[in-house]
C-alpha cells in the first residue's frame, strides 16, 4: 500500500524550509477551511491541483481571515489589521501568485491589498481552471457524468460585477459537455444570493422574502438539476434555498471545482 495516490497538501512553511517556492499559492479562505460543505470544495480543488501536477502550497495554520466581512460591515480597523498581518506573511514568503476558490478573498487580495503593500497576481479558481483547460491540462470528456445534464450557473457578485469575471466559469462548465441554461437574471444582471456585504454574518433585515429564496426560485425555473456556484457564500445560500423549497433530492448545488473533480473521477 504505497501512498502513491495520496493527494499532497504541501504547506508554505515546509517548502520554504526546503528552499523551494511554489508556482502558485492556494489561498483556502475561512469557509474553505471551516465550513463543512465548502471543505469539500477545497479538497476537490486540491485533487485537481495534484492531478495536473502543479507545484502549489497552502499557508495552513498561517492563513487568517482576509478581513473582507469586517471591511464591508464598516470595521476598517479590523480589516486593515487582518490585511497587514496577511501581507506580512505573504511577503515574508515572497509569494507572487495566488489562487483562491473564494470570490471575496479574491477581490480583497487582488483589489484591496495593493493599497496596503500586498501586490500579487491573484486568480479565482474559475480563471485558474479555465487556464488549465486552455493549456489542455483538463480536457472535455465524452460520456462523462454530466453529459447532456442541465446545469445553471449562479454568478457571484464579487466575481461578476465586482471583477468582470463572467466567461471563465462558463468555459469551465462547457468541458462537462452538459447543457448550460441561464437564469432570467444572469451575468451583469445577476441577482445576488443575499450573503455579500457581510450579510452572511447577520439575520436579514425585515422584508417580505429572503433574497436566497428569490434567487433559488429563478434557478429552479430553469429546470436544471444542478446549480453551479463559485463562491462559498453563494453555495450556502443556494443550498439553503433548495432545502427550503424541498427540492434537495432533485436539485444539487455544486462548486465548479467539484464538478470538474467528479468529471475527472478524482
Amino acid at each position: 500500500m504505497e501512498d502513491k495516490n495520496l493527494y499532497k497538501v504541501p504547506t508554505m512553511a515546509e517548502m520554504a524550509q526546503n528552499g523551494e517556492s511554489p508556482e502558485v499559492l492556494f489561498w483556502v479562505g475561512c469557509a474553505g477551511s471551516f465550513d463543512d460543505r465548502y471543505k469539500e470544495v477545497t479538497k476537490a480543488f486540491i485533487k485537481i491541483l495534484n492531478k495536473v501536477g502543479i507545484k502549489f502550497a497552502v499557508l495552513g495554520q498561517e492563513e487568517s481571515c482576509t478581513g473582507d466581512p469586517a471591511r464591508r460591515a464598516g470595521n476598517e480597523f479590523l480589516f486593515q489589521m487582518q490585511a497587514m498581518g496577511n501581507i506580512q506573511v505573504l511577503n515574508g514568503y515572497n509569494i507572487k501568485k495566488i489562487v483562491t476558490a473564494c470570490p471575496h478573498c479574491f477581490n480583497t487580495i487582488k483589489n484591496e491589498y495593493p493599497d496596503l503593500g500586498g501586490n500579487y497576481e491573484v486568480m479565482h479558481h474559475s480563471e485558474f481552471l479555465q487556464q488549465l483547460i486552455n493549456d489542455g491540462r483538463i480536457t472535455l470528456k465524452e460520456g462523462g457524468a454530466f453529459e447532456g445534464k442541465k446545469i445553471t450557473y449562479h454568478d457571484s457578485c464579487y466575481l461578476g460585477r465586482a471583477n468582470d469575471v463572467y466567461e471563465a466559469p462558463r468555459k469551465v462548465l462547457e468541458t462537462l459537455d452538459a447543457e448550460l441554461v441561464e437564469m432570467k437574471r444572469c451575468k451583469t444582471n445577476g441577482l445576488c444570493c443575499g450573503a455579500g456585504g457581510a450579510q452572511m454574518f447577520k439575520e436579514p433585515e425585515k422584508g417580505n422574502k429572503d433574497i436566497n429564496i428569490e434567487r433559488t426560485e429563478e434557478a429552479l425555473d430553469t429546470g436544471a438539476g444542478i446549480i453551479a456556484t463559485a463562491c462559498p457564500f453563494c453555495m450556502t445560500m443556494m443550498s439553503d434555498g433548495v432545502k427550503n423549497k424541498e427540492k434537495e433530492e432533485q436539485v444539487k448545488v455544486f462548486d465548479l471545482a467539484e464538478l470538474i473533480a467528479k468529471n475527472e473521477k478524482l
Binding site: 475561512c30 477551511s33 495554520q61 481571515c65 493599497d115 444582471n189 433574497i211 434567487r215
Partner: protein, 458 residues
C-alpha cells in the same frame, strides 16, 4: 412695440442669468461640502467614458425602447436649441429671423429651410416620445416609478418636465405655422423661409382662417412662450432631477475607474494601524500640528462624504433602475439605492439653504444619518453592485452606504449584535466564525483520512 419687446427680452435674459448664476453657485458650494477625493487621473479613459456613456448613452440601451425614446428627446433637445441662437439674436435686436435674412442675403435660404425642417422633425419626435413617456409613467404602472421615495414632488417633477417639453415644441410648431401663413400673405417683417413641412401640415390648418393681425399676435405669443419657456426650463432644471442633462457629463467623467468590488482604503486608519503594529509610517504629515480636529471616521452627514458622492446625488435622474435591480429592495427591505441618492441631495440642499441664509448649516441638529437614512436601510445592503451596474449615469450609491456603515461601526458602535460578534471572532480566532484557529488546517487531515479509507476499500 418692438422696442418694448426688446427691453422686456433683455430684462428676462438678465433675470434668468442672475438666477441661474446664483443656483449654479449654490450647487457648486453644496458639492464642495464633500471631502476631497482624487479623480483627476487617467484622463483618456475618463474622456472615453464620457463619450460612450454620457454622449453615447451606452448604459441606457440596457432597456432599448426607453433608450430610443430618451435618445429622441435628448437629440431633439440638443439640436433644437441651436435655433435658440436665432431666437436670442432676434430678441436682442428686435428683429425677426435674423439668420434667415442673413442667409437670404448670401443666397442660402435652402440651407435654412432644410435646417428648420430637421428641427421640426425632431420636435415631432420629442412630442411623441414625451407623450409615450407620460403614458408609461402614469398609466402603465411600471414598478420602478414607484417606491417610498417617490413622493408627491418627485412624481410631479417627472411629469412637469415632460409637459414642459411638449408645450415648448407646440410653441415652435405654432410659431412656424403662423409665420408661414404670414409669409404667404407677404406681410412685412416675415422673410421667406421656404416650406416647413411639419408645421405646415399639422398646425397651419388651425390658423388658416385667422386675420393677419390675429396671426401676428399668435406668432408673437408663441415666440415668447418658447423663449420664456427655455429660460424657465433652465432655472427649473437646477431644482429638478433633470439636472442630469448637464451633470451627467462631469458625473461620468469623474466616475470610479477601479474594479467595482474595491472599497476605498481609509488612509487615516492605515497610519494608525501601522503605528499600532510598530511598522514605519511613510509621509508623516502630522508635523504641521493639525492634531486638534480628527476627521470623523466614515460618514454621518453630507460633508463626510466625498464631493463625487454629492455630485452623484445631483446627477440622479430618479429613474429607479438601481432600485429595480437591488436584491434588498426586491425582497421588501427598506433599502432603496435611489432613495439614498435623493436623501443626499435633499440634505445637501437643506444645508446649503441654511448656510446661505446665515443659519446653522451642518450644525442644525440634523444629519443625513438618522434624519434621512436609517440604519435599517444601511444594514440591508449586500454590496452586490447591482445598483452601480444599473445606473445609466455612473452613480455609485454603494460607496455612500459603505461610508455610513463605517461611521456606525467605528464611531457609534452601532453595528448589529451579530456583526460585533463576527468582529470579535476575527479578532480572537482569525475567522468570522467561532472556530478554534488550530482547526483551520484540519481539512487536510480529513482529506488524507478519506484517501486512506478509499484505498482500503479497494
Amino acid at each position: 412695440m418692438a422696442i418694448f419687446q426688446q427691453i422686456l427680452f433683455i430684462a428676462v435674459v438678465a433675470t434668468t442669468g442672475y438666477l441661474l448664476f446664483k443656483r449654479i453657485l449654490r450647487i457648486r458650494n453644496n458639492i464642495k461640502l464633500g471631502r476631497k477625493t482624487d479623480r483627476f487621473d487617467n484622463k483618456s479613459e475618463r474622456w472615453k467614458n464620457t463619450l460612450l456613456i454620457a454622449f453615447g448613452q451606452k448604459k441606457m440601451f440596457k432597456k432599448p425602447i426607453a433608450a430610443l425614446l430618451h435618445l429622441g428627446i435628448y437629440v431633439g433637445f440638443l439640436v433644437i436649441n441651436i435655433e435658440g441662437i436665432e431666437f436670442f439674436l432676434d430678441g436682442l435686436f428686435g428683429k425677426h429671423r435674423v439668420i434667415a435674412r442673413f442667409l437670404q442675403g448670401i443666397n442660402m435660404t435652402g440651407f435654412y429651410t432644410v435646417t428648420l425642417n430637421i428641427f421640426e422633425f425632431l420636435a415631432v419626435i420629442v412630442i411623441l416620445s414625451c407623450v409615450f413617456f407620460l403614458i408609461r409613467r402614469n398609466i402603465l404602472g411600471i414598478k420602478r416609478f414607484d417606491g417610498i421615495e417617490m413622493t408627491h414632488w418627485p412624481k410631479l417633477d417627472a411629469n412637469l418636465i415632460l409637459i414642459f417639453e411638449i408645450i415648448l415644441m407646440f410653441a415652435i410648431m405654432t410659431m412656424n405655422a403662423s409665420d408661414q401663413i404670414l409669409q404667404s400673405r407677404n406681410v412685412a417683417g416675415y422673410p421667406q423661409t421656404g416650406r416647413m413641412i411639419f408645421s405646415d401640415i399639422f398646425a397651419s390648418p388651425f390658423y388658416q382662417n385667422l386675420s393677419t393681425p390675429a396671426l401676428i399676435i399668435v406668432e408673437r405669443v408663441a415666440w415668447w412662450i418658447h423663449i420664456i419657456g427655455i429660460f424657465a426650463f433652465a432655472i427649473y432644471v437646477t431644482y429638478s432631477k433633470h439636472l442630469h442633462t448637464a451633470l451627467a457629463f462631469p458625473n461620468t467623467y469623474f466616475a470610479n475607474l477601479n474594479a467595482q468590488g474595491k472599497i476605498q482604503n481609509m488612509d487615516e486608519v492605515t497610519k494608525e494601524v501601522k503605528m499600532m503594529m510598530g511598522m514605519p509610517v511613510e509621509n508623516e504629515e502630522s508635523t504641521n500640528g493639525n492634531e486638534g480636529e480628527i476627521p470623523r471616521l466614515g460618514a454621518k452627514d453630507v460633508n463626510d462624504l466625498s464631493w463625487v458622492n454629492i455630485m452623484n446625488a445631483y446627477s440622479c435622474t430618479e429613474c429607479g433602475r438601481c432600485t429595480s435591480q437591488c436584491p434588498a429592495n426586491l425582497t421588501g427591505k427598506k433599502l432603496s439605492p435611489r432613495k439614498i441618492m435623493m436623501d443626499v441631495r435633499n440634505r445637501a440642499e437643506e444645508v446649503g439653504e441654511s448656510i446661505a441664509k446665515g443659519g446653522k448649516g451642518l450644525e442644525d441638529g440634523k444629519s443625513l444619518l438618522g434624519d434621512y437614512i436609517t440604519k435599517e436601510e444601511l444594514f440591508a445592503c449586500t454590496s452586490c453592485n447591482a445598483c452601480v451596474e444599473a445606473c445609466p449615469v455612473m452613480i455609485d450609491p454603494l460607496s455612500i452606504i459603505l461610508q455610513m456603515r463605517r461611521y456606525l461601526s467605528m464611531e457609534e458602535s452601532g453595528a448589529p449584535q451579530s456583526w460585533n460578534a463576527m468582529f470579535s471572532n476575527i479578532e480572537t480566532s482569525f475567522a468570522p466564525w467561532k472556530f478554534p484557529p488550530s482547526d483551520r488546517f484540519k481539512w487536510a487531515d480529513e482529506l488524507a483520512k478519506e484517501q486512506e479509507n478509499a484505498d482500503e476499500n479497494k
